[in-house]
Amino acid sequence: MHIDIDEIAKTFGTTAALHPVSLAIPSGALVALLGPSGSGKTTLLRILGGLEYPSSGRVLFNGQDATGMTVQERRAGFVFQSYALFRHMTVFENIAYGLKARPRGSRPPRAEIARRVNKLLSLIQLPDIGARYPSQLSGGQRQRVALARALAIEPRMLLLDEPFGALDAKVRKELRQGLRDIHDETGLTTVFVTHDQDEAMELADLVVVMSMGRIEQIGRPQDIRATPATPFVREFITH
């Protein structure tokens, strides 16, 4: 699915989190929203996911206006910064949650849900942890479970908020490759937010550099490295 962001702006009270920004995300791309904290990148991601509504502007999914679509209708697989796993449910129940929440008509039978959950658990290479609770997992395992839970709803796109933020350097590297593999396997249009330029440059097809609610530059990693469009970008990527 391709996504168009058309002159999206967002103000909280009197402060502008996003000045009108526009961005076209091609179908199947892996896009990084890169910027320091307060740059508006998370706000933009939440607007895509339907967790926040823009003050003005439009969002289009496959050319259709999706601005007023509810969060449920969007079917965006969302991975939260601290993963937001349901702490009172097992890993299995966490991943099954989205399927069980479907209206009766489109809800898969119990056996089918179990089959899909187990398939996802092997996709994230943690086939044996279904019966555990989130508190019994390591940070890296939690992140992968959150990813599996988001994939379980057969999302139309994948949105990740600082997916590697809370992990140590070694696990970070492993999971980067993990996300790349899952993206390539599913072909989902994927947008992730990061403040780590290495991560953005290494992982993404397209990098969107943001600062203070504005987009500074959009481009392939090698192009941004070769020709930074503004002094801010130059400063940020050489840091």
């Binding site: 996911g49 339907g50 967790l51 969060v71 449920q72 969007r74 079917r75 965006a76 697989g77 969302f78 939260f80 910064q81 601290s82 937001a84 796993l85 349901f86 702490r87 009172h88 949650y97 989205g98 929440a101 479907r102 508190s135 019994q136 997992l137 390591s138 839970r149 988001a150 379980a152 709803i153």
Partner: protein
Amino acid sequence: MSDTTLPVSARPSHFRAATDETPTARRVMIGLAVGGLLLLVFAPLIAVFAEALARGWGAAIASLGNRDSLAAIRLTLTIAAISVPLNAAFGIAAAWFITKFDFRGKAFLITLIDLPFSVSPVVAGLCIVLMFGANSAIGGWLVANGYPIVFALPGIVLATMFVTFPFVARELIPVMIEQGRAEEEAALTLGASGWRTFWTVTVPNIKWALLYGVLLCNARAMGEFGAVAVVSGKIRGQTATMPITIEMLYNEYLSVAAFSLAAVLTLLALLTLLFKTLLERHVAGQIAANHRH
């Protein structure tokens, strides 16, 4: 924690940790705490049961068997059964509203929830009489139509609910602030409706705090005196709750009857306390389990 602490005997005796007190200070503090507890809490508790049983079990039980005492017990349990679930529902709604949304006047709303803690229950009772008494516009209309509020069950329930309103909300607010909104947001992105999210994510996460708040609310609802004394009219056998009947019996020098009923009320409170303790133990176990990784 304890694995880094040396056994007391292995420590050189002339070194003292900065947070350790001198043996004298320790003895004085422990003595004050234990003495205070014995004198102010334990002794009166024993005295209540001793007075109730002063003329033996037979007399105590016989005194509870009279119509007024039975009516008082029934009334108090009825009031708790009505006001506690309602306050639990209001408390959840208030805490949910305050912690999951940002809006103007939030601080004011929190202050308002705390108001019953700071207003004297007698004043609260008087407010209800002013609002719903036969001389007020609303009260006059209600009485004329056969629904008296003051000097009747609805007034007592209102007074009890006013006094016990903060318990559930106050327990829930810090828990819900600490948990944040991310889990609810995750449920929504997975396609769950707001209603489903509330029952499958919000409620399971707050259930222990909720139960704790309900128990505190219940203990206070059964024991409330001041506000209820003003609105109930103290009609024997009809609007006199347990605490009010106890006071009336005591004023009439019916000490066995007064203390027997007081003992029953105390037992109800102790029962609530027992539940609370069991709950705390259970929750402590849960918290330990959650931090075990």
